[in-house]
């Protein structure tokens, strides 16, 4: 029996285990929209296509599943670009389905036509234009396979209207075979053995982990390895939650706004063991001063991440979980581990000194400090919430003051730094986990970039909480202006035209709360957390509070501004 393209598409999604589709309709995608009610997908109608992609991304990061969204051609498709680039930079598995004008019209500058395959090529892992309904099932299958395997990423499938409206015999491909796509999963054994010997020779070793640990689900293996060898661990922004933030071996985040002890330890270490991280410039600072004394080992599933920015001594291409599992097995046969752990005593003492020299701190006075709000959120959620952030100061304070113990609990745009990510991502996470507490820690600038999704949260009764750290500025840019641009706050003061966030929330049918004094913070949070509605919390905070420590761009990471 023949099936239409729309039916084939939805059948394929079903077989991929898709449960949720974040979507926004339009002319070119109508055959699919029309077919949707015949299926039992949970469909979330967003209010802007960018919101759809970020929500699918938040869903994917929180659940570990592939996020799916469905939008129309032209502007619908181009509105996904920021979301695609965000997911691409952070290696998040998405399948983005875009409508396209009918194949005979492609290239004719038809109404709502955009060459989205051309536009999205550099910000997707792969993309497809389906030109024949007979290719559809194979392409959807491949799209999911590519999105979730190897180093995951977003895949876009462009669907001309005559393809989804067309019909053919449905044949589901049994397996996927793509000649040019064979990710390396198992690390090279001799390299792994060399790595272990190098680690065991080190006197001042550090483990440096990134988002790859979370993607690979290798947190437990990493923790066991760190404990077995008693090696301190520092995390990138994307790696937070990959190793428990409250663990005695945790040094916290490193890099531009990393902790003093993490940055000092990395600068002084004689062995840097990088796992699922990519030596990003916000981590390394000045590249020739990054871990200058250290031998370097690097595990990554993506060969292009290795020796891209920093030369490493032992590269290991493979899945973090598989490689760490092999290392654990080999280490169990090693004698002298007790001795090794003991030999690191001096190193741990040194790190303790750094820890006590400059702890993360702030002074809470009569005005609410943003860090205080985050500490209270941490305490009141017992560190168990799913936290999303926007980008800027709100994001860095979250990374510093909320200690993430579990993977998939911090959802943040690390690589692209997309303002407006956090709120729709929180909606996606709440869809994945309706019972859990999901909080977007936002700024008054970034929350306004996708504020329209309040309607989505209200529409689907998603009790997402938004904590706006309202300082009246685009705070991180203001901080750079303060430090490096003569305190000239050009284009960064937005407070004079700020909306009344409480009224705004109420206008959408959500709850709005405000705290202007430190003693109001806890009651507002308590009220928000017990309300089964979306809540916007407006915390009026110190306008010119800065994020510290800070490594000026391009400086060595041990040259931190500490106040």
């Amino acid at each position: 029996m023949k099936k239409t393209g729309a039916q084939i598409l939805l059948e394929c999604l079903k077989r991929e285990g898709v449960e949720v589709i974040f979507n926004y309709p339009g002319g070119a995608i109508l055959p699919i929209t029309h077919e949707l009610p015949n299926w039992d997908f949970e469909t979330i109608l967003v209010r802007h296509e960018q919101g759809a992609v970020h929500a699918a991304d938040g869903y994917a990061r929180a659940s570990g599943k592939v996020g799916v969204c469905l939008v129309t051609s032209g502007p619908g498709a181009t509105n996904t670009v920021t979301g695609l680039a965000t997911a691409f930079m952070d290696s998040i598995p998405l399948v983005v389905l875009t409508g396209q004008v009918p194949t005979p019209l492609i290239g004719n500058d038809a109404f709502q036509e955009a060459d989205i395959v051309g536009i999205s090529r550099p910000c997707t892992k792969y993309n497809y234009l389906v030109t024949d309904v007979r290719d559809l099932a194979r392409i959807v299958r491949e799209a999911f396979y590519i999105a979730k395997t190897g180093r995951p990423g977003p895949v876009l499938v462009d669907l001309p209207k005559d393809v989804t409206a067309g019909a053919t015999e449905f044949k589901y491909p049994k397996e996927v075979h793509i000649t040019g796509y064979q990710p390396t999963l198992d690390g090279h054994m001799p390299q792994i053995k060399r790595a272990i010997q190098l680690i065991l020779k080190a006197h001042r070793p550090i483990i440096y982990i990134g988002g790859g640990i979370i993607t690979a689900g290798a947190g437990d293996e990493l923790t066991r390895l760190a404990e077995m060898l008693h090696i301190p661990v520092t995390m990138t922004l994307m790696g937070l939650g990959g190793f428990p933030g409250t663990h005695p071996l945790s040094l916290g985040m490193l890099g531009m706004h990393g902790t003093y002890r993490a940055n000092m330890a990395v600068t002084d270490c004689d062995l840097l063991f990088a796992v699922g991280a990519r030596f990003d410039d916000r981590v390394t600072g000045r590249i020739d001063s990054f871990a200058p004394k250290a031998k370097k080992i690097h595990i990554d599933i993506d060969p292009t991440s290795i020796s891209k920015n920093v030369r490493v001594d032992i590269p290991i291409v493979g899945d973090c979980k598989r490689v760490l599992t092999k290392m654990l097995t080999l280490l169990q046969e090693e004698k002298g581990l007790t001795e090794y752990r003991r030999s690191l005593e001096a190193w741990h003492q040194q790190i303790e000194k750094w820890k006590n020299a400059h702890r993360l701190a702030y002074n809470q006075n009569q005005v609410i400090k943003p860090q205080y709000v985050i500490e209270k959120i941490y305490e009141m959620t017992k560190g168990k919430a799913i936290i999303t952030t926007e980008v800027g100061q709100n994001q860095m304070w979250t990374a510093q003051f909320y200690l993430f113990d579990c993977p998939h609990t911090l959802l943040t745009s690390g690589g692209l730094g997309t303002m407006g990510y956090g709120f729709p991502a929180a909606i996606g996470a709440q869809v994945a986990f309706p019972k859990r507490t999901v909080i977007d820690i936002a700024g008054d600038g970034s929350i306004q970039m996708n504020i329209q999704e309040l309607a989505t949260a209200v529409h689907y009764k998603l009790p997402v909480k938004v904590a706006i750290l309202n300082n009246g500025y685009l705070g991180m840019v203001r901080q750079w202006q303060e430090l490096f641009h003569e305190r000239r706050y050009s284009m960064t003061h937005i407070g004079d035209a700020a909306p009344d966030f409480v009224k705004l929330a109420e206008a959408y049918g959500a709850m709005g709360l405000r705290a202007t004094r430190p003693d109001e913070v806890v009651p507002v949070l308590r009220e928000a957390l017990r309300t089964p509605l979306p809540v916007l919390m407006d915390f009026v905070v110190e306008p010119e509070e800065g994020v510290y420590p800070m490594v000026p761009a391009g400086e060595a990471i041990d040259r931190m501004l500490l106040v």
Partner: protein, 157 residues
């Protein structure tokens, strides 16, 4: 340093754009690129001539390998290989230069493939040095147009 890279790719629409986009997006340089179908029609061979230090070349080959549409990447530097390019040159002819042009063409084992009252179009195939020498010799006669294929290359043996 200059590198010649052979890349086996899927013979599909958009593949050239993916490869070219990778070079432009990451600031790599393409000196020449030629591409055509292999004996196996779903597969094409690209020969790319590029330049960069070891680290850049390592990234170029890794990034090419990472593309889903790329089947195999071979950097020919350090290997024995032959590389050839074909050019078409339209050169002005006058009664007093005609004989010399024909004799240069002959020496370079070229062919005159089109004749008009005022010009010859000459086809020559060779490695980089030979092509360069040929062009230099014809320059004084007045070259009107040049079309080059860019290198194609194969490993010896």
């Amino acid at each position: 340093m200059r590198h010649t890279i052979n890349v086996l790719v899927e013979n599909e629409p958009g593949v050239l754009a993916r490869v070219a986009g990778l070079f432009s997006g990451r600031g790599f340089n393409i000196e020449s690129l030629s591409v055509a179908e292999t004996l196996d029609p779903p597969v094409s061979l690209m020969t790319i001539v590029t330049r960069g230090d070891d680290q850049v070349l390592e990234q170029i080959t890794k990034q090419l390998n990472k593309l889903v549409c790329v089947i195999k990447v071979m950097d020919l530097v350090g290997k024995e290989y032959v590389a050839r390019e074909m050019i078409l040159v339209r050169v002005a002819v006058k009664p007093e230069t005609r004989a010399e042009i024909l004799s240069i063409t002959d020496i370079f084992r070229g062919k005159v493939v089109d004749v008009s009252p005022k010009s010859y179009t000459i086809e020559v195939t060779g490695d980089e040095e030979k092509i360069k020498a040929f062009i230099e010799l014809l320059k004084p006669m007045g070259i009107k147009d040049v079309a080059r294929t860019g290198n194609v290359a194969l490993v010896r043996g």
